[in-house]
């Protein structure tokens, strides 16, 4: 770990100013990802701006009937919030499928979006990793890539985004509110994370001097028909190999809206809206679910150790939709 300076911001403006004023500065929220990476010298900011005192730590209703999750609300408080439990149970389930109680108590909603990949090579400085050190190569492509992507990977990086929460947020079409030196903007969730392309060092489209202030949920929560399935190597405290957030809106056994987001399979929570639309105005049955699943995995491409993910993703999608079609409040 290298020496760094530290300051504490009391509001959004100072936070943004501080980050702009210092070279190589970063925000720190729960610290559950950032500090781990600093300790092993994968990330080495010269300055940390502590944002845990900037407020933005509440959950509030929005004018359009949705819900605003302050960036500094902890993952635990979000999952157990009565409005989230009631109106967005998919989100609560996804959060609780992640990490451990201790981590969720510390981790924030803003930080969750920005957690880095769990690719082994990213964590080991003696290996080649374009995400850690652009231009150095990608050890995972010919290495141990069991955890890695089957969608949207590039020849430069095949890492996955590890978050569970974000998979639910993708399915819910959340919006990310951010503020930077030039003011505030809203980023639709699907545009927040990016594919690796030839710049895998960039995980998201957030600029370095921008701060996340909240994550906004639209009114539609799919509380009647939802499922989050997380396939992993142990029952708790393991990242998803493949996860699926599925939501359905069903009227008279006819599907009116459907969302399928996959986790652990791409550099971002993976959605395929074209495939999802296959379900619309169709009955909620296995044939339809199988057809969508097949359409989604058609694009998948595997590497030496992760071939199983394609079929696992297909089956998980079908299973998730079957379960979602049966869930009632």
């Amino acid at each position: 770990m290298r020496p760094f300076s530290y300051s504490r911001a009391e509001d959004i403006d100072t936070a943004v100013n501080e980050v702009t004023a210092h070279e190589d500065a970063r925000f720190i929220a729960g610290g559950t990802n950032l500090l781990d990476l600093m300790k092993i010298d994968v990330i080495h900011p010269q300055h940390l701006v502590d944002i845990t005192h900037i407020a933005h730590d509440t959950i509030e209703n929005t004018e359009d009937g949705g819900l605003r999750l302050g960036a500094l609300v902890t993952n635990a408080d979000t999952a157990y919030h009565p409005e989230v439990e009631k109106r967005y149970p998919l989100l609560a389930h996804a959060i609780l499928a992640g990490a451990s109680p201790q981590l969720r108590n510390k981790a924030t909603d803003g930080g969750n979006l920005l957690q880095r990949t769990r690719c082994y090579y990213f964590y080991d400085k003696t290996t080649a990793c374009n995400k850690r050190e652009p231009g150095s190569g990608c050890a995972a492509i010919d290495g141990y890539n069991r955890l890695h992507a089957i969608f949207g990977a590039s020849e430069h990086c095949i890492a996955t985004h590890p978050s569970d929460m974000c998979v639910a947020l993708a399915a819910l079409d959340a919006r990310v509110q951010v503020t930077g030196p030039d003011g505030s903007r809203t980023i639709p969730f699907e545009d927040f994370h990016r594919l690796p392309g030839d710049t895998p060092e960039k995980d998201t489209n957030l600029r370095e001097d921008e701060i996340i202030t909240s994550v906004d949920l639209p009114p539609k929560g799919f509380a009647d028909h939802y499922t989050y399935i997380k396939n992993r190597d142990r029952a708790s405290y393991a990242f998803a190999l493949v996860s699926v957030a599925a939501t359905l809106e069903i009227e008279d056994n006819v599907i009116k809206d459907a969302r399928i987001a996959l986790g652990g399979v791409a550099h971002k929570p993976w959605r395929n809206k074209e495939a999802e639309s296959l379900l619309i105005d169709k009955p909620a049955d296995r044939d339809g679910f199988q057809a969508v699943a097949a359409a989604i995995v058609k694009e998948a491409k595997s590497f030496r150790y992760n071939e199983f993910k394609i079929e696992l993703a297909r089956r998980s999608i079908v299973r998730a939709l079957m379960e979602a079609s049966q869930t009632y409040q």
Partner: protein, 747 residues
């Protein structure tokens, strides 16, 4: 025999200290002027260090010194000096000895600074240039380079075939040939390896070390640094788990000692979690089994061969293929054990070394044979049950395995088993049942103990053994209290201190039998002295009394015939004017008696699993195990040992896997987020029964040992249950979801 303490479910005497944080571990000791060392690990698996540039690091204020092979003073000349009590055959690794890199993550420098933060920072500024050579870390591709697995090592039995395997195999009706594999495991105790070394004014050293044997650490330091043993004190009162990782002195001990001697200051070196993957693991084995039986299930021939990894510099051997002769009545057994030398650190004993993996393969193959014979797997075990070790042609000193099978099968409900694989379904899940046997060695090693009784009736007993979380403190206290008729609160047990009387390493499930016996003997000595003194008191009813005539109970010496005749121990001390009574003793195993027998613990394990085949999810829902481990000294701590073993077995079966990236020759999932150890949510109901039979051949106190047997057999029982559930035989561990997923699926 009625007892007050022994056999009872007593709480750990050190429990309060542990849960309140007042138990101190090696890295928690402090001293004025303490400085910190951080180890730099090699980034390559094989080659040479061309240059180490420490200039930038040394410029930082507060950085005191950087030890590398270039500036490390000439130490012991001979490889032999680096040997420790647990060394396998070969030449031990010598840290900072030369520019040669022998394995990835080899320690190549130690940065010492005033604070840990500075040392860590400075370590990042050290630049190392390597000359890379081609390495080989791949066991599977190197089997043609295998050499014979032999050599002298404590506890190792070189393979020995009996009868005529080939002939018997060819002639038999039913034959099975199969192959098993398991990944590498790292010990990963919660506490990382650490040493705090205090340089004393007289040039001596006080060393707080994480170790399973303080005397081993002292020997190692003494030999390498040429310091007289009596000037070195090694202390290790608490160990946060070890599982074998503390059986050999690890390099942090070398590093901290080197720095303390050179800088003449107290130095602490603690390894990082990734570095916990740098010094020894349970080696991968590839095992082949051939079994032949007659149609009634009688084994006609067994061949068990194993290929195992080792380093280039040491030949690590363990008992992988030696178990069929002990478990089954078969006259023709072939044992083949081979090593492949690779560019990695030497493997290291891990809980039930060899047994956990060898018995896994054997008991899985036995299950395959049972299905081939269309026979109940339990029935097959019973058909081939043996009362003698076929290799040694000796009976067992005790063996209640048959009863273990019976008790565990009954508790599990095995008789309700539907023999057909894939026959039971529950919602999305297939349900499967499997069973396996376990076996491990039972040994007593020489041990010494001392005891001191004070006038106030307080007793202190001590031996230089360790308590790695197993409960050694507690059983020493129980045995002493029992022998002298004292409440446990009046007894203090001391261990983990090299100034105490000799004890061997805390490993191989030998401590209770060995140190327990020494404690018993030394307390007997005190008892005899007390009785003798009691006899000397005026008008004593105990004049001329013999030990057989009295009992020690409720802090009194009591006449066996007449309860009303007694004298308090403190009265004896007072009336005889005794300040203290001190005794020392040595408990040696009775080799003559022991050599007539084969000595083992046994177990029966039954497992239930539920598998969602579509997604590959496996949940172990029940484990029932019955254990034959001789006399149980403490029902609670013994139960915990077996619990821990079962948990490990589940973890080994389904999760643990240190993955070697062969391109880099480096274990790549080197943290606890990605090296998966079973968590609480993975745990099934675990039902444990001890089928006790005191074994006075293994040890005079009847104990056989419980540290490892709980693990052996668990992985096989789970693998067998997976087969019963799905009809799919998975022959490699861990059984992760990708292996368990069905080929075709209904969804």
């Amino acid at each position: 025999m009625a007892t007050n303490h022994i056999g009872k479910p007593k709480n750990r005497v050190d429990g309060l200290k542990k849960v309140t944080g007042s138990a101190k571990y090696a890295a928690e000791f402090n001293a004025p002027g303490l400085v910190h060392g951080v180890v730099i690990s090699s980034a390559i698996a094989k080659g040479r260090i061309k240059a180490i540039d420490t200039h930038d690091a040394l410029e930082i204020e507060g950085v005191l010194h950087i030890f590398t092979h270039e500036n490390t003073p000439g130490l012991a000349w001979f490889d032999l000096s680096y040997k420790d009590m647990d060394s396998p055959p070969g030449a031990p690794f010598r840290p900072l000895h030369s520019d040669e890199i022998q394995f990835n993550m080899q320690p190549i420098a130690l940065v010492v600074a005033e604070t840990l933060e500075l040392a860590r920072f400075a370590a990042l500024r050290v630049k190392v240039e390597y000359e890379v050579e081609t390495h080989n870390t791949k066991l599977a591709d190197s089997l043609d380079e295998a050499i014979e697995g032999k050599g002298f090592r404590a506890g190792f039995e070189p393979p020995k075939s009996i009868g005529k395997f080939e002939e018997a195999y060819e002639a038999a009706d039913i034959k099975l040939e199969t192959e098993y594999f398991h990944g590498a495991e790292h010990h990963n105790p919660m506490e990382m390896h650490a040493s705090t070394v205090i340089y004393e004014e007289d040039g001596g050293l006080t060393i707080y070390d994480k170790t399973q044997g303080v005397l081993n650490s002292r020997h190692y330091v003494s030999m390498i640094f040429g310091i007289k043993r009596k000037k070195i004190k090694v202390i290790s009162p608490f160990v946060g788990g070890a599982f074998g990782s503390g059986l050999r002195p690890q390099y942090q001990l070398f590093m901290a000692t080197l720095a303390a001697l050179e800088l003449k200051r107290p130095v602490k070196v603690e390894l990082t979690r990734p570095q916990m993957f740098s010094f020894g693991h349970r080696p991968i084995t590839i095992q082949k089994l051939k079994l032949a039986a007659s149609p009634d299930g009688s084994l006609q021939a067994v061949s068990h061969s194993a290929y195992s990894e080792t380093s280039r510099f040491e030949k690590y051997v363990e008992n992988v293929v030696n178990w069929p002769k002990k478990l089954y009545r078969c006259e023709n057994v072939e044992e083949i054990y081979k090593l492949v030398q690779l560019d990695m650190y030497t493997p290291l004993d891990m809980r039930a070394p060899g047994g956990a993996t060898g018995v896994y393969a054997l008991e899985s193959a036995m299950d395959e044979l049972a299905y081939k014979l269309n026979m109940n797997p339990l029935e097959l075990r019973l058909r081939n049950y043996t009362d003698e070790d076929k290799g040694k042609e000796k009976p067992f000193s005790s063996k209640t395995l048959k009863e273990c099978y019976r008790v565990a099968a009954e508790k599990f409900g095995w008789s309700q088993r539907n023999p057909e694989p894939r026959s039971t379904r529950e919602g999305h899940n297939l349900v499967g049942w499997g069973m396996a046997s376990g076996i491990w060695d039972a040994m007593q090693t020489p041990a010494r103990a001392k005891a001191r009784l004070s006038a106030d009736g307080k007793l202190e007993v001590g031996s230089a053994t360790a308590d790695i979380g197993t409960g050694t403190y507690t059983i020493m206290t129980q045995i002493a209290a029992e022998t002298l008729g004292l409440p446990m609160e009046q007894v203090t047990a001391k261990l983990g201190d090299s100034s105490l009387p000799f004890a061997f390493l805390e490993g191989g499930s030998t401590t209770a039998a060995s140190v327990g016996t020494a404690v018993k003997y030394v307390c007997d000595k005190i008892a005899r002295k007390l009785l003798k003194e009691a006899g000397k008191i005026d008008d004593s009813p105990f004049k001329g009394a013999k030990m057989e005539d009295v009992v020690f109970r409720d802090e009194n010496i009591v006449d066996k015939q007449d309860d009303s005749v007694f004298i308090p121990i403190t009265e004896v001390m007072k009336l005889r004017g005794l300040g203290t009574i001190q005794k020392k003793t040595t408990a040696l195993p009775n080799f003559l008696k022991q050599n007539k027998y084969s000595r083992n613990t046994h177990s029966a394990v039954f497992a239930e699993v539920k598998i969602d085949e579509d997604l590959g999810t496996i949940k172990v829902t029940r484990i029932v195990t019955a254990i034959d481990a001789g006399r149980i000294l403490n029902a609670k701590t013994a139960h915990s040992q077996i619990l821990g073993g079962v948990v490990w077995g589940v973890s080994m079966a389904l999760e643990e896997d240190s993955f070697m990236d062969h391109h880099y020759g480096r274990f790549i999932n080197h943290d606890l987020a990605e090296y998966h150890i079973a968590v609480n949510a993975d745990m099934p109901d675990i039902d444990i029964t001890f089928v006790e039979e005191e074994d006075h051949v293994v040890s005079p106190i009847g104990v056989k040992g419980v540290g490892e047997i709980g693990l052996v057999g668990v992985a096989a029982a789970i693998g067998n249950a997976v087969y019963h559930a799905t009809g799919k035989r998975i022959r490699s561990l861990p059984i992760t979801l990708d292996k368990a997923m069905s080929e075709v699926s209904a969804i």
